[in-house]
């Protein structure tokens, strides 16, 4: 048990947070509320999961929030004239393409990931606003789509089930496929990976494509919940929340280190804080402050270990 705590500190923090919030608010542990937390967190969770891939591969993707927005307006807008399934495919395809574009720009031209994805962040947001004329789009969406957001299966909300499923697939991908392993290798030491015969560019492009896909999937979930698409406010700041969730879960921003389970816990923590602060009637700006503090503490606790290790490594050389 102690070992478990030591190797998965974020699980421990998540449990403590749950307990604290539960004690503070009597309604926190009600099944409806817990389901609500899962529903809320899974939206950010998809984006954070994509970010987790990119970060492990040694990159950074700031365009995710804009991709969520573009996806939401595309699905809502295209459903006016075309069958909804077409809009969904177009939106998911667009997410993947944006990810590939990010990856190609970063690998072939050796641009900094932060610069490339800031650019695509602006471009994609602009495209979404142009497409929607900056107004919310109320599409003609089928009933089944709303089930995606509000339905339950075996007592669990459908979005949460989908998110857990995505996590399970990601775990399999990262640990049981060569390509998944290569993401860690490229992020851990790009030159060593190249010399070991790995196609570094391909691996990196794949991580951005996954991030783009999962972000546009989050857009789909958002449309299902809101029953509309909107380009101006949707997904603003999500890139930072996603990075925060991954970092709280122990994903290294230097690449090569990170787990899906950590990212899952990080996303749950952020969702849970939003929910608990709401229940406790605490002003939302406190929520931002606390997320900031939690992030700083988490990253400091991880990096103090790596600082120690670095020190150890260089002391005798």
């Amino acid at each position: 048990m102690m070992n478990l705590v030591r190797s998965y500190p974020y699980v421990w923090v998540l449990l403590v947070l749950t307990l604290v919030f539960g004690l503070m608010s009597p309604t926190f542990f009600e099944p409806g509320n817990l389901a609500n937390i899962l529903k809320q967190s899974s939206l950010l969770g998809f984006v954070a999961l994509g970010m987790c891939f990119v970060l492990i591969g040694g990159g950074l993707d700031l365009s995710v929030g804009s991709v969520v927005a573009l996806s939401s307006v595309l699905i809502a807008g295209l459903s006016a004239t075309l069958p909804p399934i077409v809009g969904i495919h177009v939106a998911l395809g667009a997410g993947i393409l944006i990810g590939i574009a990010n990856g190609v720009l970063i690998t072939t031209f050796r641009f900094q990931p932060i610069i490339v994805t800031i650019s695509t962040m602006a471009i994609v947001r602009g495209m979404a606003m142009a497409y929607s004329d900056s107004r919310p789009i109320f599409g003609t969406l089928p009933e089944e789509l709303f089930l995606l957001a509000d339905g339950t299966l075996l007592g669990l909300p459908v979005p949460a089930i989908l998110f857990f499923l995505a996590c399970a697939i990601s775990v399999f991908f990262l640990h049981y496929t060569a390509l998944g392993r290569q993401i860690y290798q490229v992020g851990g030491n790009e030159e060593a990976a190249r010399l070991a015969g790995i196609n570094v560019a391909r691996v990196k492009i794949v991580t951005y494509a996954i991030s783009g896909f999962l972000s546009s999937f989050a857009g789909l979930m958002l449309v299902a919940r809101m029953q509309s698409g909107e380009a101006v406010r949707t997904g603003v700041g999500w890139e930072l929340d996603a990075i925060a969730a991954a970092a709280i879960g122990g994903v290294s921003l230097m690449g090569g280190i990170g787990t899906v389970s950590g990212t899952l816990c990080g996303a749950l923590m952020i969702g849970m804080m939003a929910n608990a602060f709401n229940l406790l009637g605490i002003n939302p700006y406190w929520q931002r402050i606390v997320i900031g503090i939690v992030l700083a503490v988490a990253v400091a606790s991880y990096s103090s270990a790596s600082v120690r290790q670095l020190f150890k490594r260089f002391r005798f050389t």
Binding site: Q185, N189, R313
Partner: protein, 502 residues
């Protein structure tokens, strides 16, 4: 005497880098510090520059004892160091670089007028024609080096320590530098020079001291010593030739790797080589001779300007490491930490790095099979570890190197390119690596090995080629191995047998 160091010792856990070394240098003389890699030259220079503190010994400047808390304090005594890796900020202008760290102020604001004037004065003195406003990064390496010297002079330096200043300069640039160094000496500045190029020592220095394994071996004025004596002092021991028993004479009937006219300017200038099946081919040469560039080019890690490579008699376009791996080549890179290993990942996953695809089953990776394969490979190389899942960065240098070799073994390599495989590892691990090399070649594999320690090459190789300035200067077969000649060849000297045979 400007600077006088007595009985300097520096200990690291398990290593005595310096053992009671004496060193003096006076104004207006050029002193060389000579020794093989690992002899303690750099440690001594770092002690004098205040970058590290000695465990024992005293340093006197102008007759009074000093104890440097850091490089800044050493600089305040007029001791400046120019490291091999130049500390130039490429984005800043020349004048900003010259006054980096000691910008001049007048009334609290920066006095660019004075700084520009002084920088221009110093640069004229050094013969640098570039404008003080041009960006340092746009200048050539030689010009950047002059900026480093200008930096020291602007601090009123009285002792200039230069670590391998000629390593990346052309011949004309070296001549210019030496002219300048002589004029600085004549102006009364003391100069300490570290160099691998013996002829440079005889060209420019007044005096030299020799270090070996951290020991002070001796000192001499330049006119009382010749190159052969100096080499003897540096090496200091007879070579043991107990290696012949390890192997039979290699049959040179099948060329597995053949290179013609490999060029990657300025590092490689038309290198030809042939490697036979079952052969160990050594590459001797100084740092910067093109050794690393040669094996990296063979492995497809860097692009070639010209040249062809044949693998097993067939023309091969080695456009990337992946292609080279498929052809059966494997590289153990020079810097195992930055190029050979992924330090954040476990031992097991590092071991199977290039061979991962072979552990893929229908349902993805077969982790059990993979870790079994990793365990087998590590066992074959006697890697000492407690758990395959511990990060590879926790292993000792020797064991890390073994993991790098295990990696190649697992990838089904037939032609091994080993770049300094013995650097920084202990004797036991070294022997294990030599044993592995002999074992591999007896099974029909071939090895190219680079080492700065010629003794090691003589022990392990069937044939040695000497590389200097990107060209092969000589080739020796096993029966002709001669330490001194190989060493002089590697330093760019062509010698008669009679000259050094005594």
């Amino acid at each position: 005497m400007f600077l006088e160091a007595r009985g300097i010792s520096k200990f690291y856990p398990g290593v005595k880098a310096l053992k009671g070394v004496d060193f003096t240098v006076d104004a207006g003389e050029i002193v060389a510090v000579v020794g093989e890699n690992g002899a303690g030259k750099s440690t001594l220079m770092k002690v004098l520059a205040g970058a590290i503190r000695p465990n024992e010994g005293t340093i006197k400047v102008d007759g009074s004892e000093v104890s440097f808390s850091g490089p800044i304090e050493a600089q305040s005594h007029g001791i400046c160091t120019i490291y091999q890796e130049l500390l130039i900020v490429p984005e800043l202008s020349v004048v900003e670089n010259v006054f980096l760290g000691h910008l001049k102020k007048k009334n609290g604001i920066l006095d660019w007028v004075t700084m520009r004037r002084e920088a221009a004065e110093i640069l004229t003195r050094l013969g640098l024609t570039a404008s003080v406003d041009s960006k340092a990064g746009q200048l050539s390496i030689a010009e950047q080096q002059l900026i480093e010297i200008a930096k020291s002079l602007s601090r009123k330096s009285r002792l200039l320590i230069m670590d391998e200043p000629t390593a990346s300069l052309s011949k004309d640039e070296v001549d210019n530098l030496f002219k300048l160094v002589r004029s600085l000496r004549d102006e009364g500045i003391a100069i300490v020079l570290i160099t691998h190029h013996l002829h440079e020592i005889f060209q420019i220095c007044d005096r030299l001291i020799v270090l070996r394994d951290g020991d002070y071996v001796g000192a001499s004025t330049i006119d009382q010593i010749d190159e052969a004596e100096l080499v003897n002092m540096m090496l200091g021991h007879a070579v043991n030739n107990d290696t012949a028993k390890h192997r039979a004479v290699v049959q040179r009937d099948e060329v597995v790797l053949e290179a013609r006219g490999l060029s990657r300017r300025p590092d490689l200038n038309g290198v030809d080589l042939a490697l036979h099946r079952g052969e160990v081919l050594g590459i001797a040469g100084l740092m910067g001779a093109g050794r690393t560039e040669l094996v990296r080019a063979l492995f497809g890690a860097d692009r070639l300007d010209e040249g062809t490579v044949k693998v097993n008699g067939k023309l091969a376009v080695l456009s990337s490491p992946r292609v080279a791996l498929e052809q059966g080549l494997g590289l153990a890179p020079e810097d195992r930490k930055s190029e050979g290993l992924i330090l954040s990942m476990p031992i097991g996953q590092n071991t199977t790095l290039p061979s991962l695809a072979s552990h893929c089953g229908f349902f993805g990776l077969d982790l059990q099979k993979e870790s079994q394969a990793a365990a087998d490979l590590c066992k074959r190389l006697f890697v000492k570890y407690s758990n395959l899942n511990q990060p590879v960065g926790n292993l000792s240098g020797g064991n890390q190197q073994k993991v790098v070799l295990a990696k190649l073994l697992g990838a089904g390599t037939e032609i091994y390119l080993l770049d300094e495989p013995t650097r920084g590892i202990d004797i036991g691990a070294k022997e294990a690596i030599f044993d592995l090399i002999w074992d591999l070649t007896s099974k029909g594999n071939s090895v190219i090995i680079i080492s700065s320690v010629i003794d090691e090459l003589i022990r392990v190789c069937d044939r040695i080629i000497c590389l200097h300035l990107g060209k092969v200067t000589n080739t020796y077969d096993r029966e002709d191995f001669d330490l001194n000649r190989i060493m002089l060849n590697a330093m760019g000297k062509n010698v008669d047998v009679s000259e050094v045979s005594q």
